[in-house]
């Protein structure tokens, strides 16, 4: 039962494998694979594609902001405060210190996106690891990890973020840390439940029978099956994260002036809400639009992944 497997099969195979000058991969019928199918369905979803294009546009603006802002976002003018939207110089008006709103919004996209997306990304990695470990190993490890995580669920996420930020002190780094702590339990919970769902599948048993170590099984067999649902959930958290991050800045726990950040801008402009409500609302509109875009994209992604298991 040793050598003949390969030898006889090669013969039966009609020499497909034999010519070494042809790359074997070239002979195979390509299959789109799961992610290929998901991509195919996603590009045909106009809402998700629209949301994706908007996110892309904002990301590009955020990256290029220092070079493309029409005016200096830090330079104020006491004589030109609170100009209205549509002003000849200040296209989207000016803020309470006379700084150009559109420039500040463009530059603010950087920090807002950064402190909105980063905690979710970090939490995605940490939460998935905890959840997959708890779900796959099960037993007492699951109990310890998940009950610990339940403790975090006892606090409303806004309260938890504020409490952690308050304890750590103001600053971008600290607000990212506290938001990560808010999202890790949520992502871990989702990761644990999807992993528990597939842990009893026969292919996991088959992998165990092949002598693979638990770590290999988690990496090769489990991860590919759970990363999709976790990723969808994580993208839906980005909007929450942006709102929370803005909230922290609004409370003075996140970004500090004069750095432009949408939540902080909303805070400083609130004094002008009666004088110039449209300009005061602009940062909020930005937060709203980006959050909706992330949510719609995440919805589309989830729908595209609903392929038969």
């Amino acid at each position: 039962m040793n050598a003949p497997i390969t030898a006889s099969a090669m013969a039966l195979d009609g020499g497909v494998l034999a010519p070494s000058d042809v790359a074997p991969e070239a002979a195979f019928v390509p299959s789109r694979g799961f992610w290929g199918h998901v991509g195919h369905r996603l590009v045909r979803d106009p809402v998700a594609m629209g949301a994706g294009a908007l996110i892309l546009l904002i990301v590009v603006i955020a990256i290029l902001a220092p070079w493309i802002t029409p005016m200096d976002p830090y330079k104020g003018s006491m004589l030109r405060r609170l100009k209205h939207v549509g002003d000849a110089t200040y296209w989207l008006g000016s803020d309470e210190l006379g700084r150009d709103m559109i420039s500040r919004l463009m530059l603010g996209a950087r920090l807002s996106l950064f402190i909105g997306v980063t905690p979710v990304l970090i939490a995605f990695v940490i939460g998935s690891a905890i959840g997959i470990l708890a779900g796959y190993v099960g037993g007492w490890l699951n109990t310890i990890l998940m009950r610990t995580i339940d403790v975090f669920f006892a606090f409303p996420s806004v309260l938890l973020a504020i409490a952690l930020s308050g304890a750590l002190g103001a600053g971008i780094f600290n607000s990212i840390v506290s938001l990560t702590c808010v999202f890790v339990p949520q992502i871990a919970r989702v990761a644990e439940s999807v992993t528990t769902g597939i842990r009893k599948r026969d292919y996991i048993d088959a992998a165990k029978l092949s002598g693979a170590s638990p770590l290999t099984i988690m990496r090769v067999q489990v991860l590919g099956n759970v990363v999709g649902p976790i990723f969808v959930y994580a993208t839906s958290l980005i909007s929450v994260s942006m709102i929370l991050a803005s909230g922290l800045s609004f409370l003075g726990l996140g970004v500090r002036p004069p750095e432009p950040e949408w939540g902080l801008m909303l805070n400083t402009l609130r004094t002008a809400i009666y004088a110039n409500p449209v300009v005061a609302a602009l940062p909020g509109v930005c937060i709203f639009v980006v959050s909706i875009a992330f949510n719609l994209f995440s919805d589309g992604l989830r729908a595209a992944m609903e392929i038969r298991q």
């Binding site: 390969t6 090669m10 497909v16 799961f34 599948r201 048993d205 088959a206 092949s210 002598g211």
Partner: protein, 351 residues
């Protein structure tokens, strides 16, 4: 010479000689705890003292009703669930001890599952699934993939067309062929087929059964074939083991067991098979009701509440699995001399 590199594996070859059973199971127990409404702890006696041997090169069929412990036995044999007690001797060597850890045992013993879809990872291509086993056992990636393609060709799936496909892109019969190829990727000596053809169409089932027979001859395999389909078991098995409520009720050569059954339960199973002859249709079910609850099995012989031969003694005395013919053993008091049952034969068989 094995393709799988490792320290010289003494179990890859015949150690004990042809007379040594390949797998010897004795006193296998598995009770699952359940909690009833009253809060009292109880157990499901899924496997309750099972002994049997699997001889080298044979196919041992295991039959029985749903819930009789067939699949639990399979999982215990594979170590997928932990046994409460009992010993497994693989080629004369106790499994789980230092000389034969589970890891080296599993390389020798592989399993094909019933559900062809659930047993393949939906995110992996067919060839990735087959190559996974060799890869984790140290075969370099490229070699493992070539080996997977060779095995695909061997089970009748053209690698060019099938290697890159995902499980949902191929039919049930093709998936089961893939599963068989995967089970062979580690060059096992014993393959456990747990209802491996039960979910297939009859025509596909026949093809897969023939494939199994071919592979067995080619690679010198030994099969444990679990099924509820007596016709399939008769076709493929050399010996048959009948299980009832977690115990072995009869074991012997398949011709003997299936043509001249000694245990009333086997008789009833055979009689409940639908006949193709219209003049010979079964009108009454011989087996009445469901099997008793394995949480609280009947005292004495487990089959006696449903048995036509039952006598008071059957409710008291648990029948041992004793020889009634060459290689043929039965756990029934009515077949065992001086058991106290009125139908018991007079003298012991000269064995």
């Amino acid at each position: 010479m094995s393709v799988i590199p490792s320290a010289p594996d003494p179990f890859a070859h015949d150690r004990g000689g042809p007379a040594q059973p390949l797998l010897s199971v004795s006193g296998l127990y598995k009770h699952f705890p359940v909690r009833k409404a009253g809060g009292k702890k109880q157990v499901v006696r899924a496997v309750d003292g099972v002994d049997f041997n699997v001889l080298k090169g044979e196919t041992l069929g295991i039959v029985g009703e749903s819930g009789c412990g067939k699949s639990t036995t399979a999982k215990l044999l594979m170590g997928l669930i932990e046994r409460d007690s009992g010993t497994l001797l693989y080629d004369g060597q106790a499994v789980g001890e230092r000389a034969m850890p589970w890891r080296s045992y599993r390389r020798q013993v592989q399993m094909v599952f019933q559900d062809s879809y659930a047993s393949l990872n939906p995110r992996m291509t067919v060839e990735q699934s087959i190559a996974f086993g060799p890869k984790v056992n140290g075969v370099p990636g490229r070699e493992a993939v070539e080996r997977a393609r060779a095995l695909l060709a061997r089970v009748g799936l053209e690698p060019k067309r099938f290697a890159g496909r995902y499980p949902h892109e191929i039919s049930g019969g093709q998936r089961q062929r893939v599963n068989i190829a995967r089970s062979l990727a580690l060059e096992p000596r014993l393959v456990l087929l747990d209802e491996a053809v039960s979910a297939l169409d009859k025509s596909v089932e026949a093809q897969v059964l023939n494939l199994l027979l071919d592979l067995k001859a080619e690679f010198g395999l030994t099969y444990i074939f679990i099924s509820h389909d007596l016709n399939v078991v008769r076709f493929i098995s050399d010996r048959v083991m009948v299980m009832y409520l977690g115990r072995v009720s009869e074991i012997g050569p398949s011709d003997t067991v299936l043509d001249a059954p000694a245990h009333p339960y086997t008789e009833a199973l055979l009689a409940s098979m639908p006949s193709l002859d219209p003049d010979n249709r079964t009108q009454v079910a011989l087996l009445q009701g469901d099997p008793p609850n394995p949480i609280d099995p009947p005292r004495g012989c487990r089959f006696h509440p449903r048995c036509g031969l039952a006598e008071p003694i059957c409710g008291d005395k648990e029948p041992p699995l004793d020889a009634v013919g060459p290689l043929h053993r039965v756990a029934c008091l009515a077949r065992q001399p001086s058991s106290g049952h009125s139908a018991a034969p007079a003298r012991a068989l000269a064995a």
